[in-house]
């Protein structure tokens, strides 16, 4: 067992770090304030390969792996959780459905532009009445000759405000529950696809997250990914991988917040001393760094098990469960270490604490993670 990153991963990590510090960090505060994701930044992320890391060069991707993707998620999220989720939804949800279940033609048509830097993807599964209970899908796809007609509404579709490619799920046979869900891919400009306004949120405010309604959307059967009824399996598989991204995002947000707090305690003086000289500060920082590192190792293990084509679902769920709780604890303590200043918007830890909460909710809540883990452990 070797816990060292290889040369390729080390140089990738260095490149992601430089990109995050020079390109993401300066924009993060303003994007959070305005709740608008900077499209030039998105274009830059595409250009350097940040949007296609674990995808084959054969389709224009980076030719990397999930470990490299986790490194990117951490470095970017250190400075901006919104940029993290933008990359994550595109990469491990939208792209992975087409990559894992698409035909060669579908990969050429839909995956290639998403991983070669030209198009951004989004993923529509959650509905107003179907969250953790994905089987409660009300969006329907009715077969009409060689076309499907799709009607329904998806909520919390991340990236939908600017995405070019929509991967979404709809019931093709309500009578068989989750086995009646199918996966579809379509262009933003498909008639009947209507993106609503951005939903106001507590954190990751710069990310785009809208309601998307499908009103008599007519698409050819060639835009169905996988077999009819395979949608639930496709979505769950995508979310398994997505959780590695969210775990890495959590590690990044936490490390970013702790780094800020460390910088602060080394400068701040109270009672005539730097507050970093107090043992309470030292112990707290030691404890937080230990928790972050534990989450990082769990995340890397999940990524490596996916890269090795092992059964990684439980590892990913455990990494996400642990990391998402950890990031909330760390950010709360980072704010505490910085006192009143930590609570001010002038310092990024305030934003980190708001951004942290969602990691316990999206791509499967902490409770859903426990269901996945207990299920893998065959605890019935």
């Amino acid at each position: 067992m070797d816990f060292k990153l290889n040369k390729t991963h080390l140089l990738q990590q260095e490149m992601f770090r430089r990109f995050a510090e020079n390109e993401v960090k300066p924009l993060a505060e303003e994007m959070d304030e305005t709740e608008i994701y900077n499209r030039e930044l998105l274009a830059k992320m595409h250009k350097v390969g940040l949007m296609g890391i674990p995808y084959s060069k054969e389709y224009g991707g980076v030719g990397g792996d999930y470990l490299g993707y986790a490194l990117a998620m951490e470095e970017i999220s250190k400075h901006d959780g919104s940029s993290g989720i933008t990359i994550s939804v595109h990469t491990s949800l939208a792209c992975s459905c087409v990559d894992g279940f698409g035909t060669e033609e579908q990969k050429q048509m839909w995956l290639r532009p998403m991983v070669d830097g030209s198009k951004t993807g989004c993923f529509g599964l959650t509905e107003p009445n179907a969250g953790t209970d994905a089987a409660g899908q009300q969006t329907k796809a009715l077969l009409d000759g060689d076309h499907y007609i799709i009607n329904g509404t998806k909520i919390f579709t991340t990236n939908s405000g600017f995405a070019d490619t929509f991967v979404m799920f709809a019931m093709t046979d309500k009578s068989v529950g989750t086995k009646g869900i199918s996966c579809f891919v379509m262009d933003r400009n498909t008639p009947g696809l209507v993106v609503g306004p951005n939903i106001k949120r507590m954190g990751i405010r710069a990310a785009s997250n809208c309601e998307v309604s499908y009103q008599n959307v007519r698409i050819p059967v060639t835009q169905r990914i996988g077999k009819e009824g395979e949608g639930f399996k496709i979505a769950m598989k995508a979310l398994d991988g997505g959780r590695i991204g969210i775990a890495a995002q959590s590690v990044g947000i936490a490390q970013g917040a702790l780094n800020e707090a460390i910088k602060y305690v080394k400068e701040r003086k109270q009672f005539g001393k730097r507050i970093s000289s107090f043992q309470n500060t030292q112990f707290k920082i030691a404890e937080l760094q230990t928790h972050i590192d534990a989450a990082r190792l769990m995340t890397w293990r999940a990524a490596v098990s996916k890269d090795n084509h092992e059964n990684f679902g439980q590892n990913a769920a455990m990494a996400k469960l642990f990391a998402s709780v950890m990031v909330n604890d760390v950010c709360r303590d980072a704010v505490q270490l910085m006192g009143g200043y930590g609570y001010c918007r002038e310092y990024p830890v305030e934003r980190a604490l708001r951004d942290a909460k969602i990691t316990e909710i999206y791509e499967g809540t902490s409770e859903a993670m426990k269901m996945v883990i207990a299920g893998s452990m065959k605890i019935f």
């Binding site: 990738q12 490149m15 992601f16 350097v48 991707g61 980076v62």
Partner: protein, 264 residues
């Protein structure tokens, strides 16, 4: 068109420590980067390649760990990389370095050579011009902008001067020394990094170049420059602030100071 960019790996700080015996830099433990001006040179070369075609070769003289600088250049999009490294080359001053790199360049071949203006660890700005002199080719130092390549063999370059600039047409093969203003370096591409580690960094050692070198003229012993003393510059003390003076009073104080110091 074969563009060759010469780069140097430098410590990522101005606060470097010196070896008290040799008075040379201690590089261990200090993160290393591609020298800023050199990186602009790489970018300029890549832009020229995209516009006019050709290849970009990157050359670095240094210890084995300079491999990382070359991988980074490959990950930015360079086509091939050479590491010029040998025990015999260690401790070379600018003159000896220029003769070694020139020997390597003769082996590699070139139409256009780009070097950085100067390295942040030595600040001599000598190696680029010395390479051009050693190779007997024209040079344009302090290149701020490359306008065009004409007829496939002439480069039109803007050269920065203190109070003016020159626009120069120069016949290839030639050498340019790049200012940071020449081009803002691109990031490595995430996939380029994977390619970079699958590509070969070609090694040029003493044995490969010895027919073009004189052993007595390279390395620490062959270097005519002897470092007499290296030391960290002491920071100047705080200046004296004179506030709320009339222009005449201010002039009087300044003139008195200048006279006191025997400047006038």
């Amino acid at each position: 068109m074969k563009i060759v960019v010469c780069i140097k790996q430098v410590p990522d700080t101005n606060e470097v420590k010196l070896d008290p015996v040799t008075n040379t830099l201690i590089r261990e433990g200090v993160p290393s980067i591609i020298n800023h001006d050199d990186k602009s040179g790489i970018e300029a070369a890549l832009i020229l390649k995209e516009k006019f075609g050709g290849t970009v070769t990157v050359v670095c003289m240094g210890p084995p760990q300079a491999d990382l600088a070359l991988r980074e250049a490959l990950a930015m999009g360079c086509d091939e990389a050479y590491l010029v490294s040998a025990r015999e080359f260690g401790g070379s001053d600018t003159w000896a370095t220029a003769s070694i790199i020139s020997a390597a360049l003769k082996k590699i071949g070139y139409d256009l050579i780009i070097t950085g203006r100067q390295a942040i660890d030595g600040d001599t700005a000598q190696v680029g011009p010395q390479i051009a002199e050693t190779l007997g080719i024209p040079q344009v130092s302090y290149a701020e902008e490359i306008y065009d390549i004409e007829d496939g063999n002439k480069v039109i370059v803007k050269r920065q001067f203190e109070d003016r600039y020159h626009i120069i047409e120069v016949k290839m093969p030639c050498l340019l020394t790049a200012l940071a203003e020449l081009a803002t370096p691109r990031y490595m591409h995430a996939g380029g990094i994977i390619d970079a580690y699958q590509m070969e960094v070609k090694a040029l050692g003493y044995e490969d170049l010895k027919d073009l070198l004189v052993l007595e003229h390279i390395g620490l012993k062959g270097s005519p420059t002897n470092v007499f003393k290296s030391f960290t510059k002491q920071a100047k003390g705080k200046g004296t602030l004179h506030k709320e003076l009339s222009p005449d009073e201010a002039v009087e104080i300044i003139m008195a100071k200048l006279e006191e110091r025997h400047i006038i």
